[in-house]
Symmetry: C2
Subunit: 677 residues, 2 copies
Amino acid sequence: MPTVEPETAPARVEDDGPHADDSGYRQPEVDVDAMRRLLDGRYGDVRDLVRDNLTEHAQILVDQEQMTTADFRERVKDVVVMMAETGQTGMGFPEEYGGGGDIGASIAAFETLALGDLSVLVKVGVQFGLFGGAILQLGTRHHHDAHLADLVSGRTMGCFAMTESGHGSNVQALGTVATYDAEAQEFVITTPDDTSRKDYIGNAAAHAELAVVFAQLEVGGERHGVHAFVVPVREDGRVLDGVRIEDCGPKMGLNGVDNGRIWFDGVRVPRTALLNQFAEVTPEGRYLSPIDNPNKRFFTMLGTLVQGRVCVGGAGINASKVALTIATRYAVRRRQFEATDPDQEQVLLDYGMHQRRLLPLIARTYALHFAQEVVAGQLHDVFSGPGPIEQGSDEHARRMLESRAAGTKALGTWHATRTIQECREACGGAGYLSENRFAALKADTDVFTTFEGDNHVLLQLVAKGLLTDYAGEFEEMDQLGMARFVAGLAVETVVERTAVHKLVQSVRDLLPGGDTWDQEAGLLDPNYQLAMLRFREEHMIGGVARRLKRGIDQGANAGAVFSRVQDHVIAAARAHTERLVLEAFVSKTAALPDGDLKVALNLLCDLHALTTIEADRAWFMEHGRLSSARSKAISREINALCRKARPLAVDLVDAFGVPEEMLRSPELLGWPIGSDH
Amino acid sequence: MPTVEPETAPARVEDDGPHADDSGYRQPEVDVDAMRRLLDGRYGDVRDLVRDNLTEHAQILVDQEQMTTADFRERVKDVVVMMAETGQTGMGFPEEYGGGGDIGASIAAFETLALGDLSVLVKVGVQFGLFGGAILQLGTRHHHDAHLADLVSGRTMGCFAMTESGHGSNVQALGTVATYDAEAQEFVITTPDDTSRKDYIGNAAAHAELAVVFAQLEVGGERHGVHAFVVPVREDGRVLDGVRIEDCGPKMGLNGVDNGRIWFDGVRVPRTALLNQFAEVTPEGRYLSPIDNPNKRFFTMLGTLVQGRVCVGGAGINASKVALTIATRYAVRRRQFEATDPDQEQVLLDYGMHQRRLLPLIARTYALHFAQEVVAGQLHDVFSGPGPIEQGSDEHARRMLESRAAGTKALGTWHATRTIQECREACGGAGYLSENRFAALKADTDVFTTFEGDNHVLLQLVAKGLLTDYAGEFEEMDQLGMARFVAGLAVETVVERTAVHKLVQSVRDLLPGGDTWDQEAGLLDPNYQLAMLRFREEHMIGGVARRLKRGIDQGANAGAVFSRVQDHVIAAARAHTERLVLEAFVSKTAALPDGDLKVALNLLCDLHALTTIEADRAWFMEHGRLSSARSKAISREINALCRKARPLAVDLVDAFGVPEEMLRSPELLGWPIGSDH
């Protein structure tokens, strides 16, 4: 619920903030094409290719409603294969196997797919991201030659069999076993019990011929941790002996993806089935790995899969754009009540409440878009660097990337859930009809907050990185280990090691008022806005460290200590990620040449920054960084910003570049109900 | 997102509030049966009858996933008719027509239906609540004799054709016309244009034989406003001449209900088709009504339909119970990580974050349950009173009931949306599978926030009542009229006329500290909690009045003034309803005899009250009613309350009495994944 417009002192006549009537303000004209080019960034051509493909296959949005599940699954597969032929799904693979050789392009393509049917998106993610990505990143030449060309073209479909029923987020503890039989030079893959069945595996129930199976490697009676194997599961549509596959059955959404459960009963695969980028078993049964530490090895393997998280975050952000485009266009057509007086006829978006519902979400979508651009760019740079990944010199940078990907994924997918819901409600009963898109958007995106890492678990990962400064050993620590590690440090050490510590200091130097910067700086000064978010982040991290330390020092059970601090831990991670998001938006905007585009983006950036502060204004007040008067001033300023953004709203959503065919909603958008525009 | 656990001062060792270690606290034992009887209230037998019926027809939860839409619609209809035979759907009708003669019982029965498939619920609501309710309340003996027995038994299906495409919440402006032809002694029903087609009409696309049609009555060239008519639309499954019906097509959920659009092209019905409780047309064409004022007549007619809102609010609250039961039971089975140390093995609900996610929602569900009991009881009393409704002496009380019903419906249905979403996420990927209930719960309840009155529109109605003290003319005022009306009063008048004004004073007298009651009173003193909510309500209403008055006094356009104040208006209405909800919970609890049940409910009531204050703690700080230290203390107290409620959680949800068959979720609940309990 939007914040209450605060009651005003008698002397103040309107609720306008000091900036609402700035005589210097001139409403910008938004050049929709230019804004769209800015959003599309360096991969505009790739995004346009995907938009064209989506438009060509727009009928699938109708098929999703009308087909049986079995037919729809086939239809989705066919569309995926047809899209593969255009090259859009293979951008991240080496050119010699039919790929595009550009990881950044592959992320841009995937994100853009989220404007269309999301079963197609997820099927693409499973086939080319998870399955294909595992072969590419965990395998070596042998596996590349054997599989990449076929999977890039969609001739061979595969699945990614990692998650198990009983082990959820704790991949390292999974139960499937791969035992090396030196005699036969084969691995024997077995599911020891029902908690170790592979679960929710996309592409498994109907289409996958191959599976990348994660299992505990056992050689000569010794366990070496989780490794990945290429295992045939189906041939000519028939499930192979020793493999049992069950359909997960109907789901809330994404029913074009065939999720299944898989059990292995002594399935034999050759020694070369081990994806051996990071470890090898010799024919005679010796285990070799360039990474001695088993934990480090495990997390290095897992780290190569970070692209999936970046992609899902981007998909959430882009799905939000579809909902906002529909709801905003509807809001400038529809009237809440009949006109009783022509002067007072107002469309929905003229109402303060409706502005408050939609405009901050548009601003936040822009913010997350630019934050996503940063993380996708970093991923591209890290994974496009020279030489095998494990030799990359900057492990610290890679851990920061993983952390940033985790945080952005969490915020981007929660944003999708919230935005799509708000937009549905803002379209009233019409929003409930399937042809108006919200039904599929809601149902299909709902699981984004869970898959590729549950958001709460991901934020704990982010916090662990912050608290340990991405120490070499941080990946191996569980939450309790992290609590003990932090307890071993001075709190000042924890705080000073975080990047934010120096940032807070440097931004304070930019602001007027010295120690009272938080009272003197202008609300629309981005340095003020950033300083607030940095202060919060630093303060929260310090607070978590202090509480963990105190608890452990007093000899309390580490589990109980962590349990009590957990929401604080998650809040610190969220505060960190919010700061990264705002920084991305501020620096994108600052880099623009002067002009209307910059004016419009500054407006959105202010709206995003202030609504972010407003949402947690209680915390800022509790921690002495916001007076109640200034808190109220922020709410007023947001209302003023909403009124300024109102005339730009349609252009701002049109710049998202959602193809008209993806919007559907003929009655919401197509003919004038209760409006003569 | 739950509030951040605030960082603590160095002197404080744990984050426990002052009450967490109260030596006097003894953990209560919850007698599940006794708690359930308390929740079920005076209609326990009725609720059990419905539970039995739901269990008997539990297969429909599976059918919903597996059947085609056409088959599922038939199946839902059949179940509705079978349930009708047990009497559960006809509780509100006079006994002489096969009904139960008890309005309160009919609400209890309807609410309980929300534990099962919600298409059945909505179909029941359409047939017996909307269609049947209109015949009963707006019709007279003639209509009762002609239709009630058949509709109560389900032999005749009907629909309620009020909403039009272009007129949404503004029923008074609808476009369908009923012209009286004195010659033929018939009304001629016509849809003049596409914005006046009837839309989203449940039961219309397949099953209704009769429709109660709302149309502008025109007699002898004169318009008399909206009236209702019984119009045959189908015979032996064939749509009648002059009637055109279109299917609304697939929806996000509730696909067992056949929603349709209806157009009328000069359809003739006899003079007696007018539901003439409040108005009559004589054979020769004279219009007569006991209510002279056309606006008052319209709102009197509409007011008889308040039961629908009460029912939908209750349905939202009960659907939440299903989600919470599943998520809570899952949370005491599932572990987030493998046990590395047996002493520290924790199930999900042992984590502070998970407690914060679920336990306040359980507390709020209890609160809303008791608030719903109050509004349902008031409805029963008002509608069971002697004599025709329009002669009821206490119109003021009826307006307050309508307002309360509107507010409770808004809060109850938003609660459902939020709770079901949180519970789905708290069950991870498994929550996404249809067999685990959340898919249907989410999709089916989504429209609850919109139908039977959009929640934002309803809260504006609540605010209008508060601001005008339910003045006789208040129903006729649109928002702009309301703004002008309030501007004509002194602000003090507005505030003093509200019921809350005296309540704040009286509760302050109960609290220690005089003017500093907000700092001195104990956090767990219900008088303190109520005083906070009352203060907020009064302050917000005063603020709205002041801003409206100032704007209008300065000659600003009333539309612009209202637009700027709108979110404040809605917040005031919400604050009012929150106060009613807490009052209901406090007085229910206070009336219990001492014992464990009371201890447990006090715990929940405190948890609900403090989380309600915490959620808006920024407002309280901004308005001088909460110091930052006390605000932090409230958050700590909530954490302590969560830890106290943790051991009771399963019993508290089991007391909701959701039949096991309604939970499904075999894998979430049925066998021990990652747990040996």
